[in-house]
Structures are given as structure tokens and as C-alpha cells.
């Protein structure tokens, strides 16, 4: 059969049956769980007397509530200790493999899945976390789900799902020096809106996307949900196969050729039919930063902040500019910075630490700035230390922390103070997101963040290299 997208093929291969409610029962190839959204689902499962149907397709780690400094047990925060203990008990009871604090492999779910080779092309991947779209970077279909759906997956290995339309996003050209996947995805969200992807899965393609390495693609797909698209993917190619080869849970040499053959076969056909096609020019994209309180309120670093009336939602823009204390006509470049947070499932990978490190090497964080580097996983952290990046960060004045979601969601004690402005490599600049209702978040790439840390104000990384 031809004319099919990767999404069509993955959908067909995982369809168990059509349900009487009109939905499709879709098999789940990889179910990742963490401590915040799974305990209620385990509770529901036990109430009904079910076991976990496919424990071998289920993997757990802990990320949202884990401290990034003192991790001795019991954890100092009693609620966090309760959540972590509950997860430890549940995975033990149900035979689920767990990458815990002492495993050497703990980290943010969307960092751990790809880097261990658990995420593979052609799989359906679900997790009780909206950033599950990340896994699409390897040619998988990753979807965030709620806790009742987690219960479904535990009990049945499946979700009840509605098929979405597919929008092809073709990015032409080449990203310039100092411009990254993060800048590209912020550009896409600005173009298509934070709600533009509702009802769609995004397929990212074109020269600029093919040129991205896998970690860049992970950052790109990660923020699909910020554009309203539950899933986003890149067709698998040689880079994908090279990335996976030799990873702990990737197919072994004996199965490798068969795997690659399958992975090639599930890529979108050349004549695949899309429900919508959007073209974006990659050439002119600047380092991008948010000026507002949602990830679509974005400008180029040297571009003027828009008049509220020029935006599609003037009232929201006005409120956002009030909150952020920025004015139309000004640029974000030069806005004073109190905190920088390098980490998260968007930009907590080794390449992100390297890019920030490249800016920081031989220089120092501004006296007025508190700077945190939080590697996305223990694997990332140890690889970074092998390269001496921990020294680069510490010598520049960053705190070098243990892995977790940290200040992206501020559930673990890492948070910004009232009124503080944080340049963050994370994915959401919602009011209150980083732990203070009056705090302000500016989303950027790791390089822009590092340049801003040095300058003490939002800065263009191209001027600091």
C-alpha cells in the first residue's frame, strides 16, 4: 500500500480493533511512567483487581519531584518521599523495570527513553506527561495521556484513541550559527499558534529538519504539544539508525538488519497524502525568545515586541506584557535577568550542555544572576563530567545539579523567587510555572541562556561566541 504517512502506518500496525464507541483500540509499544501521574492509576488498577498486562513494554523512572541536591532517603520533602516510595512499591508489585535514583540511569522520562534505546522508530509511545511528543524524533508516535488512560494501558496494553490528521511542516534552508532546534520550534509555534495543532499530528521535514542531529530533533518534537499537536515526528533516517546502534535496549546485532529494514519501511511514502502542508523558511530564523506567558508569544532576539493589537489575542497579549513588565516596540535583548535554568526534557541533553558550555568557557556568570545546570539524566550527567563540562559550568558560576525536571515545573523545591525573571531552556512560560506567581519566564535555547547568564540581561548568543 502506498500514499501512507508514518503516522498511518504506525496506526495500522498497532490497531487491535475498532471499539463500539467509534474509537480505535491501539496497542502501546512503550509505556513510560513516573511518580506523579501513575500512583492514582495503580490505585484504580488494584481496585479492579487487574495486573499490568504487558510489564515488558512498561518502564519507570522518577523525575518530577526528585531533589537535585540532597537525594538521601528518606527525602526531606515528605510528600516527595511518599510519591517515590509509592512508585517503588508499585513497580516491585507489578514487575516493571525501574530506573531509580541508584540505577545510574535515572532521569527525565523523555530523556531516558531515547538515550537507552527504548524508543524506536515505528513504535507507539505513551506516558502520563504531555511532552511524550518528544519520542517522535526517532520516528515513533509519542502521545501524552491522562491518568485514566494510564490505567487503560496498565490493564490492557492499549489506549482508546481517535485518529488525527497529519500536517506536514517543511522547513527549507539552513539554520544559521547560534540558531538551534529550539529557535525553530518557537518560530513554528509563533507561526501556527499555541492552538494551531489541535486535531493534528505534526510531521517535520525539509532540509533544515534533516540537518538536525537527533538531540535537536528531540527538542523540536518535544514542543509539538506547545503548538497544540499531541504528537510530532521526524521520519527515521541514517542518523536515527546511527543514534540507536549500540544503545542498551536497542536491537542487538543479530536483529539489527531486520530492525533497520522495518524502520525504513515505516517512514512516510514519497507520495504520502497530508491533510495540510505548511512551509517555513529556515534561513532567516534568529535566536528566538518569548516575551509573554505562553510559548507562542515569541520574538527574534533583536525584534520589536509586538503591539497587543497586532497579535491575534490583544487582551491576552496586554496581560502578558503587564506580567512580564515589557513594552511593545522594545526588544527582549537587554531585559534584566535574575536566574537562568539550563535543563528539562526540551534542552537537558549532552549537546545542550555542550552548546551552553561553549559560550561559558573562560567566562563568568554575571554577579546578579543565579545559574542552575540540571542534566536531563544520570547518563547525561556522567557523560558531561567525562568531558569536563561540570568544571566549565562550576568555574563559570553555575550550580551543577543532579538530574530531574527541577525548575521547569518547580515541584521539587527548585523554583524562582517572587518577581524574578528566569531565562529558561524549558518549554512553558505560563504564569506560576517556575514556582512563583509573580515570577517571569523567558524561554530560549541553551546558547541564548548562557549568553544571558554572562551578560546579566537577555543577550544574543551570536555576539558572545
Amino acid at each position: 500500500m502506498s500514499e501512507r504517512t508514518l503516522y498511518d502506518k504506525v496506526w495500522d500496525d498497532h490497531t487491535v480493533q475498532e471499539l463500539p464507541n467509534g474509537q480505535t483500540q491501539l496497542f502501546v509499544g512503550l509505556h513510560m511512567i513516573h511518580e506523579v501521574t501513575s500512583p492514582q492509576a495503580f490505585g484504580m488498577l488494584e481496585e479492579r483487581g487487574y495486573d499490568v498486562a504487558f510489564p515488558d513494554r512498561t518502564y519507570a523512572t522518577t523525575d518530577h519531584i526528585v531533589p537535585t541536591e540532597d537525594r538521601s532517603r528518606p527525602l526531606e520533602d515528605e510528600q516527595a518521599e511518599t510519591m517515590l516510595s509509592a512508585l517503588e512499591g508499585n513497580v516491585e508489585d507489578h514487575g516493571v523495570e525501574f530506573f531509580g535514583l541508584d540505577s545510574g540511569r535515572q532521569g527525565i522520562v523523555h530523556i531516558v527513553g531515547p538515550e537507552l534505546g527504548l524508543t524506536q522508530p515505528g513504535m507507539t509511545v505513551v506516558c502520563g506527561d504531555s511532552h511524550t511528543s518528544t519520542h517522535g524524533a526517532l520516528g515513533a508516535v509519542g502521545m501524552g495521556i491522562g491518568t485514566s488512560q494510564i490505567r487503560d494501558v496498565f490493564a490492557t496494553g492499549c489506549i482508546a484513541a481517535d485518529k488525527q490528521d497529519v500536517r506536514s511542516i517543511e522547513v527549507s534552508g539552513t539554520l544559521g550559527e547560534g540558531v538551534y532546534a529550539k529557535d525553530l520550534v518557537l518560530t513554528i509555534i509563533r507561526e501556527l499558534g499555541v492552538e494551531g495543532g489541535i486535531g493534528y499530528v505534526y510531521e517535520y521535514g525539509g532540509e533544515a529538519v534533516r540537518d538536525l542531529d537527533i538531540e535537536g530533533r528531540l527538542a523540536l518534537c518535544n514542543m509539538s504539544i506547545e503548538g497544540g499537536a499531541r504528537a510530532g515526528y521526524v521520519n527515521p533516517d541514517e542518523k536515527t539508525f546511527d543514534y540507536l546502534r549500540g544503545r542498551e535496549y536497542a536491537p542487538s546485532d543479530d536483529d539489527w538488519d531486520e530492525a533497520v529494514e522495518y524502520w525504513r519501511s515505516i517512514a512516510s511514502d514519497d507520495d504520502a497524502i497530508y491533510d495540510d502542508v505548511v512551509e517555513i523558511e529556515g534561513d532567516g530564523i534568529e535566536p528566538m525568545v518569548t516575551w509573554g506567558t505562553n510559548p507562542g508569544q515569541v520574538v527574534g532576539i533583536g525584534e520589536e515586541i509586538p503591539e497587543p493589537e497586532e497579535t491575534n489575542d490583544p487582551r491576552a497579549a496586554r496581560e502578558a506584557q503587564d506580567h512580564m513588565d515589557v513594552s511593545p516596540g522594545d526588544t527582549m535583548e537587554g531585559v534584566g535577568v535574575d536566574v537562568v535554568f539550563l535543563g528539562s526534557c526540551t534542552n537537558g541533553r549532552l549537546s545542550d550542555l555542550r552548546e551552553a558550555g561553549r559560550v561559558l568557557e573562560g567566562t563568568e556568570v554575571h554577579d546578579d544572576v543565579r545559574a542552575l545546570a540540571v542534566p536531563g539524566s544520570q547518563t547525561v550527567r556522567s557523560k558531561a563530567e567525562e568531558e569536563g563540562l561540570d568544571k566549565v559550568f562550576q568555574e563559570a558560576g553555575f550550580e551543577w545539579r543532579e538530574p530531574g525536571c527541577s525548575m521547569c515545573i518547580a515541584m521539587n523545591g527548585d523554583s524562582i523567587g517572587d518577581g524574578e525573571l528566569c531565562v529558561s531552556s524549558s518549554n512553558r512560560n505560563y504564569v506560576g510555572r517556575q514556582g512563583s506567581e509573580s515570577g517571569k519566564t523567558v524561554l530560549s535555547s541553551p546558547a541564548t541562556l548562557a549568553a544571558s547568564a554572562v551578560r546579566g540581561e537577555v543577550a544574543d548568543p551570536r555576539e558572545v561566541f
Binding site: 500496525d13 498497532h14 487491535v16 480493533q17 471499539l19 463500539p20 464507541n21 467509534g22 474509537q23 483500540q25 496497542f27 506523579v36 501521574t37 479492579r48 483487581g49 487487574y50 504487558f54 515488558d56 513494554r57 520533602d77 510528600q79 516527595a80 511518599t82 510519591m83 513504535m123 502520563g128 506527561d129 504531555s130 501524552g144 495521556i145 491522562g146 485514566s148 490505567r151 490493564a155 490492557t156 496494553g157 482508546a160 481517535d162 499555541v194 492552538e195 489541535i198 486535531g199 504539544i225 542487538s252 536483529d255 531486520e258 530492525a259 522495518y262 505562553n294 491576552a316 515545573i409 518547580a410 515541584m411 512553558r428 505560563y430 504564569v431 506560576g432 510555572r433 514556582g435 506567581e437
Partner: protein, 200 residues
């Protein structure tokens, strides 16, 4: 096979809570610091916790403080952001039984369906009309009819959109899909066996 304990949700009647604003995210609906509980039991008191309070912690004039209805009337892209089911759990436990809006974020709408909460959509002007009507007259009777795909506000009837899956699930009372899919576990195992990667 355990019996399904869900019931049909064909129609929700009551009064409304107008909650204006596009892109209201789940971090606003339940701030992340309240997610550190292993059950949903307390979520009702966390609904819009920060938005409902002023800087001194006193209750402000947020719609959840000033209205008592069971039908939330919202604007565009409601429930965007995090997948936390804590958000609809909080609204449900606060007393929301149905939500009418311009559009809903997908994961949020799915979570609502899992809890038997209809999320039906109307045009922007129609939503504004209903919000204004409730603001002028909070006791205006409001009815969300999932089966007939309509919303009745006072004397006015609106044709609403309900997705097929949601309609089928709610009207037939099969919105809890666990037992339904568990009864086909052998078919799921067949799919598992057919997928090449489960052997690698």
C-alpha cells in the same frame, strides 16, 4: 470480567460559570505544587487555587468564587499544557459536570471523557453570548444535551459540536474503556505478537 460501572451521560442541566480567556492552561487549573499527592481526593479544593486568590491570599472575584453552577463556559484552547488529569479531577470535584467552550486541548478533552465530563464546542460569538447571559443573570438555566448536540441557555438553543467518539461514549455509557479493552486482551496479545520489535 468485572462489570462496567459507568453510566450514560446524555444530558447535563443546571446553571453556568462563565470563565473567560483563551489558552487557560492546566497549570492554572491546578498549580503543580498540588500534584504531590498520590490520590485525587483533595483536588477539588485546588481548582484554580492561585487564580482565585489575591496577593494576600484572600479570595478574589474569580468566577469560581462568584458563581456556583455546574456547567463551565470557556473560550479557546481550554486546558492546554500539561497532561495532568488532576485538572479535570479538580473541576469535577469542585462541581463541574459539563464544559462548553470554543475549543479544547486534546489531552484535556480526553481526560474529561475518561471522567464522563462532556466537552462540547460552540462558535466564539455563541460562547460570548452565553457568558454574557450568565454574567447578567447567574440563575439562567443551562442545559448541555450531548445526545442532541445542543446547548440551551435560557430561551436560546444553540447547535453544538460533540465529537463522534465522545458522543458515542457518553450517550452509550462506554466512556470507561478499561473493562471494554481488557475483554479483548487476547486480541491485544495478537497485535503484540505481530509487531516485529517485541521480539528484538
Amino acid at each position: 470480567m468485572p462489570e462496567q460501572d459507568t453510566k450514560a451521560v446524555r444530558r447535563v442541566a443546571g446553571t453556568g460559570v462563565p470563565l473567560r480567556g483563551d489558552d487557560i492552561d492546566t497549570d492554572q487549573i491546578v498549580p503543580a505544587r498540588f500534584l504531590k499527592e498520590v490520590t485525587f481526593d483533595n483536588m477539588g479544593k485546588y481548582a484554580f487555587y492561585d487564580a482565585r486568590r489575591d496577593d494576600d491570599g484572600d479570595m478574589n472575584d474569580h468566577p469560581l468564587n462568584t458563581y456556583t453552577g455546574n456547567v463551565l463556559v470557556v473560550n479557546d484552547n481550554f486546558g492546554c499544557g500539561s497532561s495532568r488529569e488532576h485538572a479535570p479531577q479538580a473541576l469535577m470535584r469542585w462541581g463541574v459536570e459539563a464544559i462548553v467552550g470554543e475549543s479544547f486541548a486534546e489531552i484535556f478533552a480526553d481526560n474529561c471523557k475518561s471522567l464522563g465530563i462532556p466537552t462540547v464546542t460552540l462558535g466564539a460569538d455563541e460562547v460570548d453570548e452565553i457568558q454574557t447571559l450568565i454574567e447578567d443573570e447567574p440563575d439562567t438555566p443551562l442545559e448541555v444535551d450531548v445526545e442532541k448536540e445542543r446547548v440551551v441557555a435560557g430561551e436560546t438553543e444553540y447547535n453544538a459540536d460533540v465529537t463522534d467518539a465522545q458522543k458515542e461514549a457518553l450517550v452509550e455509557g462506554i466512556w470507561d474503556t478499561t473493562a471494554l479493552m481488557r475483554s479483548s486482551l487476547d486480541r491485544a496479545k495478537d497485535t503484540y505478537d505481530d509487531l516485529p520489535y517485541t521480539d528484538w
